[in-house]
């Protein structure tokens, strides 16, 4: 019995060796008998095991790829969230007093300081500042006043080292109110600089410490 088993194993190993040998011709045409059936069974078992092993490896690889992809997506999502956070800093309005274009100390200066940090952290970023006025005052004068407000913020940034060619200026005068009402609250909101990205806004780095 032991011998028979050993023989079967021997045949199986031979068969396996032949199978794994890759290209070696099979010289003995087996005659179906008890042993060969067992050997065939063993060969099938062995193939199944091999298949299982391969499946396992593929599964592991798939999982790994999935995990890498998820990590990459997570990174992209983080990057996008960061970019959006940076853009939110850029989009914050700078507001002005009536018929004035000077940068007010306090909140408006803090807003500009954050924008300055963003421009410093993102060397490829170029922006446009669009100045706006409230509906009071002459329509044509308000166009000039809006430009004066955009230039005022631009000067604040370039005085602190930002290259002038990274900051474009435009004016919408009183033509583009964010609040169309005619009261103090609306006028205060409408007297503003708006910032927009010209180039380099796809991926933005959050400045250190923010």
């Amino acid at each position: 019995m032991k011998l028979k088993f050993a023989m079967t194993l021997g045949v199986a190993v031979m068969v396996l060796a032949a199978a794994c040998g890759g290209g070696q011709p099979e010289e003995v045409a087996p005659v179906p008998n008890q042993d060969s059936i067992a050997a065939e069974q063993a060969r099938r078992d062995s193939l199944a095991r091999e298949q299982a092993r391969r499946d396992s490896i593929a599964r592991a690889r798939r999982l790994e790829e999935e995990s890498i992809r998820r990590e990459r997506e997570e990174a992209v999502r983080m990057e996008r969230e960061l970019t959006e956070a940076v853009l939110a800093i850029l989009m914050t309005h700078v507001n002005f007093d009536f018929d004035r274009s000077s940068i007010r100390p306090g909140g408006d200066t803090e807003v500009l300081e954050m924008k300055l940090a963003v421009l410093q952290a993102n060397a490829g970023l170029e922006v446009v500042i669009v100045g706006n006025a409230d509906e009071r005052g002459s329509d044509e004068y308000n166009m000039a006043l809006g430009m004066r407000r955009a230039l005022s913020a631009k000067k604040w940034l370039t005085d602190r080292g930002i290259a002038p060619n990274r900051v474009a200026v435009r004016s919408m005068g009183e033509e583009d109110p964010v609040d169309p009402r005619s009261n103090e609250e609306a006028w205060a909101k409408n007297r503003r600089d708006e910032f927009a990205v010209v180039v380099g806004g796809d991926v933005l780095i959050l400045p250190p410490g923010m």
Partner: protein, 446 residues
């Protein structure tokens, strides 16, 4: 009230009948009133000559001609329009050659206008009578166009202007239009408030329109994303061509030179806001006229001789009115102001005769329309009710259109500079930046 009117009307009819009966003998005497006949009309003769538009043959077209003429002559503010209650003036017939000068004189008229239609030729003869001199001063032929003809109203306005000139020696301003901005669209309206139409295409924000001297071209700014280019074209057409070298920059507040060759405008950019000219006739030669550095210069307006440009500058802090030669030299303060007291002064426009400049100036936080004598530089405030801004001269040099919020919403109003009389021109929506045309030439009407 109705009874009173009826009573007044019957008194008047009797009086007119009595006068007509006695008119022939009265005509021989001077003055006719001495006969003791009293006319029951509550008309007090003022400094202005009385004007009577006579009735005559009826008809839809003729009635409209009469109504438009009557209103144009009233809007000229040069005459005391004599209207009889209940439309009795319609019965003061002018059929045939019979003209009852003494009757018109008794009614207070210095001038009478008769409209006689010739059905065969579809024309009308509009005659202005000098009632005191008992002569026909001027007869104008009017081609009677159908009411729905786009030029119908303008053709009557032209006759009204001819009558104003023949009667007063001064130009009228009936055959004119105004441009204005309403919710971002450039629109136009006839001087009497009729025929409102949109000029600028949908989706384009229009700004600061102005007329070329001939009245056949206009310029305005097309705003987009904080940029503004100037475009020039026919106000009745739909083709507007950009002024070269104004693309991709913010240009506005354009004004033509009196010869139509130059367009002056404000440009806002990295240098602030400065006045430039571009030579449209030679299609070249962009020239910068002001150098502000820390101040803004804008809203140029040529003197009618083309030699000077008035403009707004913030060089003294608040915006005020300055003047320079048309080449930019000799810049100086134009409208005097008290530093720290006088409010912002903006939107100057030189009068067609060159003697005055209209502008608006902040008075206790509200803009008001002022005029300044160009020679003496004496300044006079014209308005006080509500916010009144952006004045623009009529070609008669006597009327100014401006934006007023006196009824709540910003509308175009017209003021007679001589008398201070005002009328509202537009009725609906928020109107801004009016520009009054020169007399509209016949050829540009469709």
């Amino acid at each position: 009230m109705t009874r009173l009117c009826r009573a007044a009307r019957s008194v008047l009819t009797l009086a007119v009948a009595a006068l007509v009966l006695t008119a022939a003998p009265l005509a021989a005497q001077d003055p006719p009133i001495e006969q003791g006949v009293r006319i029951g009309i509550t008309y007090t003769p003022g400094l202005r000559p009385g004007m009577l538009v006579l009735g005559g043959a009826r008809g839809v077209v003729l009635d409209s001609v009469r109504a438009i003429l009557q209103r144009d002559l009233r809007y000229s503010d040069r005459f005391e329009m004599i209207t009889l209650p209940g439309g009795d003036s319609l019965f003061l017939g002018s059929a045939g050659a019979f003209v009852n000068h003494s009757l018109y004189a008794a009614l207070g008229a210095s001038f009478a206008v008769a409209i006689r239609a010739d059905a065969d030729t579809a024309t009308a003869q509009v005659t202005l009578y000098d009632v005191r001199g008992e002569t026909a001063r001027r007869t104008i032929a009017l081609v009677l166009k159908p009411l729905d003809d786009p030029d119908f109203r303008m053709s009557v306005h032209r006759v009204a202007d001819d009558i104003v000139r023949a009667a007063s020696g001064e130009p009228g301003s009936a055959a004119t239009r105004l441009l204005f901005i309403q919710r971002g669209r450039l629109r136009r309206v006839d001087f009497d408030g009729a025929d409102v139409a949109t000029i600028s295409p949908f989706g384009v924000a229009a700004f600061s329109p102005a007329w070329a001297p001939g009245g056949d071209q206009i310029v305005y700014t097309e705003l987009s994303e904080g940029w503004g280019r100037l475009v020039v074209g026919d106000p009745l057409g739909d083709v507007f061509l950009p002024v070269p070298e104004t693309e991709g920059l913010l240009n506005y507040a354009a004004a033509f030179s009196p010869d139509g060759a130059l367009v002056a405008f404000a440009r806002s950019g990295d240098e602030g806001t400065e006045v430039y000219t571009y030579n449209l006739a030679r299609d070249c030669c962009l020239q910068r006229l002001t150098v502000g550095r820390f101040s803004d210069n804008l809203s140029p307006t040529f003197s009618p001789d083309g030699r000077r440009i008035a403009f707004v500058s913030t060089r003294a802090g608040l915006p005020q009115i300055y003047v320079m030669a048309a080449d930019g030299t000799g810049q100086e303060l134009f409208a005097p102001f008290d530093y720290g007291v006088t409010g912002s002064s903006l939107a100057p426009e030189w009068s067609p005769d060159g003697t005055r400049i209209a502008f608006h100036r902040d008075v206790v936080g509200s803009p008001q329309v002022f005029i300044m004598d160009a020679r003496s530089r004496m300044v006079r405030q014209l308005t006080s009710a509500g916010r009144n801004e952006d004045p623009t001269w009529a070609p008669d040099g006597r009327h100014i259109a401006f934006i007023s919020s006196r009824t709540g919403r910003r509308q175009i109003w017209v003021i007679d500079v001589e008398t201070g009389r005002v009328r509202q021109l537009t009725q609906a929506g928020d109107t801004r930046l009016p520009a009054w045309s020169p007399r509209i030439p016949e050829s540009t009407n469709p």
